[in-house]
């Protein structure tokens, strides 16, 4: 009983550090729209802008997890909408392999690393996504426990 109470308290106090990779053409514009439209979302995220989601190498994600991030979100344009035609398809392929072979085998919860497509017009969706992701990581607790 006391343990569960402690855990509850821990999840309440815990503020996760999340890293979000946004592609320049869709997701970053989406995040911008969320800000301009004043949709509220938790302040736990740090956004890194990259030119395309295809730029994101698994080593970036692993380094983030190593250096203390509790969760990593990769976001890009919807499939078929990529500014560079097929960059996000590469990202998807790389992500699935990374998830299955690197993250899962390391014993890190799979939900800590996610891939989501957010377009430039989906400001509301971006805000909802970040809220949902933050709550999920809060439930999982810190990676360094």
């Amino acid at each position: 009983m006391t343990e569960t109470k402690k855990k509850l308290k821990k999840t309440k106090d815990f503020e996760p550090d999340l890293l979000v990779f946004c592609c320049n053409w869709c997701s970053y514009a989406g995040a911008d729209l969320a800000g301009v439209s004043r949709f509220q979302y938790p302040p736990n995220i740090r956004v890194i802008r990259v030119m395309c989601s295809g730029r994101i190498d698994p080593s970036f994600v692993l380094k983030a997890l190593k250096d203390g991030a509790d969760g990593v979100l990769i976001s890009g344009c919807h499939i078929g909408d990529c500014h560079y035609i097929s960059g996000n398809e590469y990202a998807l392929e790389r992500f699935e392999k990374m998830h299955k072979i690197l993250i899962k085998q390391l014993g890190i919860n799979e939900n800590r690393v996610r891939l989501e497509w957010v377009s430039a017009s989906e400001g509301k969706r971006f805000a909802e996504l970040i809220t949902e992701f933050t709550n999920q990581i809060k439930e999982l607790g810190p990676l360094k426990n």
């Binding site: 692993l62 690197l102 390391l106």
Partner: protein, 322 residues
């Protein structure tokens, strides 16, 4: 002088210039953290082989399951090694689901001694908990790390655990008369093969080691089966390097070195054996680029031996003696 020292003296960041953008060394660093318990998929283990959590003989797989991220058909080394050991041993082999890296690459490539010690402590704890007495590995780098580097840090390591490379293991079992080599080459022309000595199994071991000679002795036995063993021009402790140990970046110089090695192999035989996963990865990587060397078949020592080993039934022998 180790590579990291050269870089440190040139005031370069040791994390830069690690091959594959540092994916594999970062994995090692994550594994050294106390809160990480890897959950490896043991999908590659065949259903007829019994594995256990506790026991005396451990097969230390190494980082092979993670290599699947970029390289194809690397699991076959782990699979054939496990098949060899399970044929010989009667009790189930220990395979850890939460096995971590031995730390070779961060030690040699980046000089991160603290992480190396952390990993060593975690490893030793795991071995002790499972009651291991013999560690068998098929990786040359893991072997050197356990045999030479761990006892430097923990003096009682070599007394507690017996470390064997699969070559040593097969050789000992063969000398004890527990196994014999079968599988005659049916074709009339003899198949010639050669062996590439990994640096970690030749010049990086103490001088009194017998691994290179043991390997040759096993190969001489294969002459009876129609496989003739030829030495390459550079062999044993003089063997040419594959050019890219501990995730060093591949460049034109290391490629030239490997190309030279492959030409030597081509003149010596049609099959080239090695006993280090990284040598296998890098030498076969070059085969995609150059057509003239693509005919050589590169395979691991255990991959080659798995179909040539037969266990001698000790009960049958004693009956005959009676």
């Amino acid at each position: 002088m180790a590579r990291y020292k050269i870089r440190q003296s040139a005031k370069k960041n040791v994390d830069e210039l690690i091959a594959h953008k540092g994916v594999y060394t970062t994995i090692t660093e994550i594994m050294s953290q106390p809160y990480i318990n890897p959950d490896r998929s043991l999908e590659w283990v065949p259903k007829n082989i019994k594995i256990a959590d506790k026991g005396s003989v451990l097969y230390y797989v190494g980082c092979i399951p993670y290599f699947n991220y970029e390289f194809d058909k690397i699991d076959v080394i782990a699979l054939s090694t496990l098949q060899i050991i399970s044929k010989i041993e009667k009790e189930p082999i220990v395979l850890f689901k939460e096995e971590i890296c031995c730390g070779h690459d961060v030690y040699w490539g980046q000089g991160k001694l603290e992480i190396f010690i952390e990993l060593a402590k975690k490893n030793i704890k795991m071995f002790e908990k499972a009651g291991i007495s013999t560690i068998v590995t098929a990786c040359a780098e893991c072997y050197r790390t356990f045999k030479v580097d761990y006892p430097k840090l923990f003096e009682d390591f070599s007394q507690k655990f017996e470390v064997k490379h699969i070559i040593e293991y097969v050789y000992e079992m063969w000398k004890k008369g527990k196994i014999e080599f079968i599988g005659k080459n049916e074709s009339e022309e003899g198949i010639s093969f050669t062996y590439h000595d990994p640096c970690r199994l030749s010049r990086f071991l103490p001088e009194n080691n017998a691994i290179t000679d043991n390997t040759r002795e096993i190969f001489k036995e294969f002459k009876k089966l129609g496989y003739s063993f030829n030495e390459m021009e550079h062999n044993k402790s003089n063997s040419l390097c594959c050019g890219v140990n501990s995730w060093m970046n591949c460049n034109e110089k290391s490629k030239a070195l490997r190309y030279k090695r492959m030409l030597e192999a081509k003149s010596a035989g049609s099959i080239m054996l090695t006993s280090c996963p990284k040598c296998k990865i890098h030498l076969s990587c070059l085969q995609d680029d150059y057509e003239d060397i693509s005919s050589i078949e590169i395979s691991d020592f255990s991959e080659f031996l798995v179909n040539h080993i037969k266990v001698i039934d000790s009960n049958k022998n004693s009956e005959v003696e009676k």
